[in-house]
């Protein structure tokens, strides 16, 4: 039993800018590029856009991110929907969800959902871009974190990963299998930043960041933007590009890390979000053809697979080949563009953008043949927030 909104809305336009170490532009510029590309992709005109939702990425915390003034920068007039949204990595799916409900009920016709970020500075490190942002001069008990030597998201996720790994006997080599698998996909993704093939040996030789994470367990940091345009299924049918119909939507937000009631490392919001989205779409884990999962770290992918019911707790690694670098090895249809680990880090727009590409069948050499149900996840904080989209090439 699905919900009547299943297949009634769609992503009709996708704009992906140049990604990675692209210097000399701010987040507004990237946002402008992404909406220009998305409008062109959909075969629309600028004035067709009557809704704008923005998510500023890490530059939002640095004070240089996109926000409501983007409307003026883009010269969009008489919008019927406008908001700056932020539930961290879950925002992209939340924007598409809000846009879907809005177009379904006639509040707007074409809503542009934009993630844009430009944290990388020429000569600066990716770690500096993320580790330092918004964390200057904490007071009170928060000031104990730097006093103990805790810095950045790498540390928080490594803490979660360690608990998961000790609980289920998952090893660094297992995490490496995820990393190498995704790189193989990235090799065939023209949007991807890292396209050199990897071996497990390369993985083990990459330096430690925060043990249990090597460098190749951690996502990239990217300058760039992604725009998706959401409209009704009826409108999407007649546009230039194939629609990715929205079948299911959900969110799940377990709560705060330090609270003893929250089991960190072995649960995420995907359980609640997934159940909600599956129910709306009238499908279950057994129907999923392709997964595009938020992969800030290799570990996050394994955790997410299990919380969506695609493997038993601790068993997600069983979906991966022993040596994914072996050309004969069959890869799971998970993060088919290389994900945030190897393609580009646009928070929740990384999985959604590849999800749209796969649902359209436009993935080129990396296209997965059976693409009826594409499950996309967004995840933010330290597994604190979660959003789900189920996309399909079929209206019903």
């Amino acid at each position: 039993m699905s919900d009547p909104i299943r297949g009634q809305t769609a992503i009709c336009g996708l704009g992906i800018t140049e990604m990675g170490k692209v210097y000399g532009h701010d987040a507004s510029w990237f946002a402008g590029e992404s909406i220009r590309l998305a409008v062109e992709d959909a075969g629309l005109q600028k004035d067709d856009i009557d809704g704008l939702l923005v998510n500023p990425g890490i530059t939002g915390m640095m004070g240089t991110g996109i926000s409501i003034p983007l409307q003026g920068y883009l010269g969009l007039r008489n919008l019927r929907l406008l908001n700056h949204m932020n539930s961290f990595g879950a925002t992209a799916s939340a924007m598409v969800q809000y846009a879907a409900f809005a177009v379904h009920h006639g509040m707007a016709n074409y809503v542009a959902c934009i993630f844009s970020d430009a944290p990388l500075q020429q000569g600066g490190s990716a770690g500096a871009a993320y580790g330092g942002a918004g964390r200057r001069g904490p007071t009170g008990m928060a000031s104990l974190m730097p006093a103990f030597g805790f810095y950045g998201a790498n540390t928080s996720y490594a803490l979660a990963a360690r608990r998961y790994m000790e609980r289920y006997g998952v090893t660094n080599n297992d995490l490496g299998r995820v990393s190498v698998t995704q790189r193989r996909y990235a090799v065939d993704n023209p949007h991807a930043t890292m396209r050199q093939p990897l071996t497990l040996e390369d993985y083990h030789n990459s330096r430690w960041i925060v043990e249990p994470f090597h460098l190749l367990d951690c996502c990239l940091v990217s300058n760039g933007a992604v725009c998706t345009i959401v409209t009704t299924a009826e409108r999407a049918r007649d546009l230039k590009s194939s629609p990715a119909y929205v079948w299911g939507m959900g969110q799940g937000h377990p709560g705060n890390f330090p609270h003893a009631e929250v089991e960190v490392g072995t649960t995420s919001g995907a359980t609640i979000a997934g159940e909600t989205a599956y129910k709306m779409a009238g499908v279950g884990p057994e129907d999923v053809d392709i997964c595009e999962f938020y992969d800030c770290y290799t570990y996050t992918v394994l955790r997410t697979i299990e919380d969506y019911g695609l493997a038993k707790p601790g068993d997600a690694i069983g979906l991966y080949p022993e040596d994914p670098a072996d050309p004969e090895a069959e890869l799971p249809a998970i993060n088919t563009g290389g994900g945030q680990l190897s393609s580009y880090y646009m928070w929740g727009m990384t999985p959604i953008s590849e999800g749209v590409i796969q649902a359209r069948g436009s993935g080129g050499d990396r296209q997965i043949e059976k693409n009826d149900i594409v499950l996309c996840s967004g995840n933010g904080g330290t597994l604190d927030t979660h959003g789900t989209l189920i996309l399909s090439p079929n209206a019903n």
Partner: protein, 134 residues
Amino acid sequence: MAYDKPLPNPDENTQPFFDGLQEHKLLLQYFPSADHYQYPYSDRCYKDWSTDWEWRESAGNGEVYTWVRMHQLYHPSWKAEIPYTLAVVQLDEGPRMHTNLVNVPVEDVHVGMRVKVHFDDVTDEVTLPKFEPA
């Protein structure tokens, strides 16, 4: 050599906690209406939203909830320590604390390891609540 790592920066609400550390006492907020110990500081109980609470001394016992080895240098003062061991300790009273593990070889560290608080007087004015094997 003078201690050059980042030092805590107490505010009005958390000053008693930091004063307690100097006396080698680990103070937690206790909210009677929910019979709930809370850390880090908040002016409201997250269980029943009560704002009525008092400081109570923790027994300082708990277990390693999770842990990592930090290899990345974010602040120059840590250069000589890298890699160092960070942990989240679940206190027997309930709350979890981010902390350092000391006096234990890394090979012995594991989730579930019993630990007790170790007050480290890093300067004349500042004491940090670290943990060591019980």
